[in-house]
């Protein structure tokens, strides 16, 4: 007869099998994403604060129009907090991929959708634009830094 102690050993062996299955699946997933990034299909992200800061002059005009604010090293102004946010990271390979979600539609507090938003994306640009357009925004223009300016569709 299978004693309780023996049964617990069997259960532990089953646990190991589950752990190996989970581990193998995890490893496969990580290897896949690694290969994917190596082939350049998914671009790597590198912290490049200084590069982005150089691009901040792009926002001057927006600031002057008082649509949205931004803060630079030199001057503190109204932050993005109220409308969403932008992270200061840039894709080192170009602007096909971005590192962060669109600012507004999903992250903006319900009932307080911003009129103007600036977004950087981690998905493919065209997909992200499609998503944002489906949320009632339209692209105003893209900026060389990779940021994209949207406006709520009238």
């Amino acid at each position: 007869m299978l004693t309780r102690s023996r049964f617990s050993q069997v259960m532990i062996l089953v646990l190991f099998v589950i752990a190996f299955m989970n581990g193998r699946k995890y490893l496969r997933r990580q290897r896949k994403s690694y290969k994917h990034s190596k082939k350049g299909q998914r671009k790597d992200r590198t912290l490049k604060m200084s590069y982005c800061r150089d691009q901040l002059s792009q926002f001057k005009e927006i600031n002057d129009q008082k649509t949205i604010g931004f803060s630079t090293d030199e001057e503190g102004s109204q932050s993005f907090n109220e409308e969403g946010f932008v992270t200061l990271f840039e894709d080192k390979y170009g602007d096909l991929y971005r590192v962060r979600y669109c600012l507004a539609p999903k992250l903006v507090i319900a009932g307080r959708k911003a009129e103007w938003v600036v977004g950087v994306f981690r998905d493919r640009l065209e997909e992200s634009v499609k998503n944002v357009e489906s949320e009632g925004y339209e692209v105003v223009r893209t900026l060389p830094s990779g940021f994209i300016l949207f406006r709520r569709r009238p």
Binding site: T3, R4, S5, F7, S8, Q9, M11, I12, V14, L15, F16, I18, A19, F20, M21, N22, G23, R24, K25, Y26, L27, R29, Q30, R31, S33, Y34, H36, S37, K38, R42, D44, R45, T46, L47, M49, S50, F70, S71, D73, G76, S79, F80, N81, G84, F85, V86, T87, L88, F89, V99, R100, Y101, K106, L107, I109, A110, G111, R122
Partner: protein, 471 residues
């Protein structure tokens, strides 16, 4: 590279010296398992204090750490007379090794290797971590590292997602970047790895000390089988360091319940809970929950005098970190986005049945298929418990402390979800599994405290046999 290793070693030594100063007679292995994460936490706190006092990231913190290390070594040397006790204790524990446990250990080593390889893959492919790591944790570290005196403004404006989060992880990263003089993208991955493997080591050594070798090994396998924890760690999120500090707190309380002649474990529980509070906002919820639960459980089980002694030690341990957190929240941190977004509809949200049911169904799905969408891991745990039964030597004070804390923290999460100003479905989808990662080691801890070990089963069977013979 040498500078990086030097500063990492300094943190490790600081953690070890701190634990040795408080617990000179403790099992060396437990101190070794805990010291990397404790050391990183303490170094990060010193770095944060220097940010508050000097106003910018500076290498002077290395000097302060060295001085503190020397002081702690002096204290621990004075208290090292009882070291023999620890050595004898370790020898006794080594007697547990059998063919079965050696087999378990070998299989465990394979699992750890899988976990390590996956971790390295992830960190080479995504050196800056996932998007949350980039925008919250490493982004804040970069703000502190690059902004000089204007770091508070930079934190508030450049990293505007959860701008009020405390600075343990960003501080640990920025400290090493400051030492290197360069924002090396692999540093956050190294720090996340230290926390994850320190968690695994603590799970094994801590449970081995409490329940014996075999239960320690099983607890570690349970942790490794939960690949979601590994995945979140490799994405460089703060949830695993938080889980480490929470588990350590509960582990210290369990050790406290076994050793009533000293209150030092309660003090370390306070330190650990305090470091958790300095890691993430959820840590504050845990701090409150654990204080409430321990107060109720210890007062009821052991009386007022012991409660006051243990409570006082806990308070003493947590105090420096709570003060650090209060200073940060009052002076530097912008308002919390969840709190600031609260509307007058909170009461309506709290009584909205559809919100409750959405949270319940999402929680059920996430919990049921945590780490494996085909086999229900919690279902397996339940089956295992039914098969082996409940331990006859269950320490009820420890067990109810863990379960009560998990319950209160979960209730806090539930409340936050109910009243979230964001879309509830989106909020659940993007955070629930991570919240579960934070609690998972504590849930497993409660589980392994509860189960009957094989040695208990054997003793029970032998006693029954003797009884039947004499009968």
């Amino acid at each position: 590279m040498i500078i990086l290793l030097g500063f990492l070693l300094l943190s490790l030594l600081l953690g070890y010296a701190f634990l040795s100063a408080v617990l000179p007679h403790e099992n060396q292995r437990l101190k070794l398992a805990l010291s990397p994460a404790f050391g990183l936490g303490l170094s990060s706190c010193i770095f944060s204090v220097s940010l508050f006092v000097i106003g910018e990231a500076t290498l002077l913190t290395g000097l302060v750490e060295c001085l503190l290390l020397l002081g702690l070594v002096a204290v621990s040397r004075r208290r090292s007379i009882g070291q023999l006790i620890a050595v004898e204790e370790e020898k006794t524990l080594d007697l547990d090794w059998t063919k079965w446990t050696v087999g378990l250990a070998v299989a465990l080593a394979v699992l750890i290797s899988i976990s390590l390889i996956g971790y390295v893959y992830q960190n080479i492919a995504f050196p800056n971590g996932s998007s949350d790591a980039v925008s919250i944790w490493n982004g804040r570290a970069l703000s502190v590292f690059t902004s000089g005196q204007s770091w508070p403004k930079s934190l508030a404006n450049d990293c505007a997602f959860h701008p009020d989060y405390p600075l343990l992880i960003p501080g640990a990263v920025a400290r090493l970047w400051t030492a290197l003089g360069d924002a090396n993208p692999y540093v956050p991955g190294v720090i996340a790895g230290i926390f994850y493997f320190s968690l695994l080591a603590t799970v094994f050594v801590g449970m081995r000390q409490l329940r014996g070798l075999e239960v320690g090994l099983i607890f570690t396998v349970f942790m490794l089988a939960s690949t979601e924890v590994t995945y979140v760690s490799a994405r460089q999120l703060a949830d695993v360091p938080l889980a480490f500090y929470w588990l350590s707190t509960l582990l210290f309380f369990a050790l406290q319940d076994k050793n009533l002649n000293t209150e030092r474990y309660s003090m370390l529980a306070g330190v650990s809970a305090g470091l958790g509070g300095w890691t993430k906002n959820e840590g504050v919820l845990f701090l409150v929950a654990v204080v409430v639960v321990r107060a109720l459980v210890v007062w009821r089980a052991r009386g007022r005098e012991i409660f006051l002694k243990q409570g006082g030690s806990f308070f003493l341990g947590a105090l420096p970190f709570v003060l650090l957190l209060i200073t940060f929240k009052i002076v530097y941190a912008p308002s919390n986005d969840l709190v600031a977004g609260q509307s007058a509809q909170v009461l309506e949200q709290l009584t909205d049945v559809s919100r409750h049911s959405l949270i319940f169904s999402e929680l059920g799905d996430t919990l049921l298929y945590f780490s494996n969408e085909k086999i229900s891991f919690p279902g397996f745990l339940l089956a295992y418990l039914l098969a082996v039964g409940i331990s006859k030597n269950l320490n009820k004070v420890s067990f109810f402390s863990v379960v009560g804390t998990i319950t209160l923290v979960s209730a806090g999460y539930w409340y936050v979800y109910l009243t979230t100003p964001w879309s509830l479905a989106w909020h659940l989808r993007t955070s629930l599994s991570r919240l579960l990662v934070q609690l998972w080691p504590c849930i497993l801890f409660a589980f392994v405290l509860l189960i009957q070990s094989r040695s208990e089963m054997t003793t029970e069977a032998m006693a029954r046999e003797d009884e039947s013979k004499s009968g």
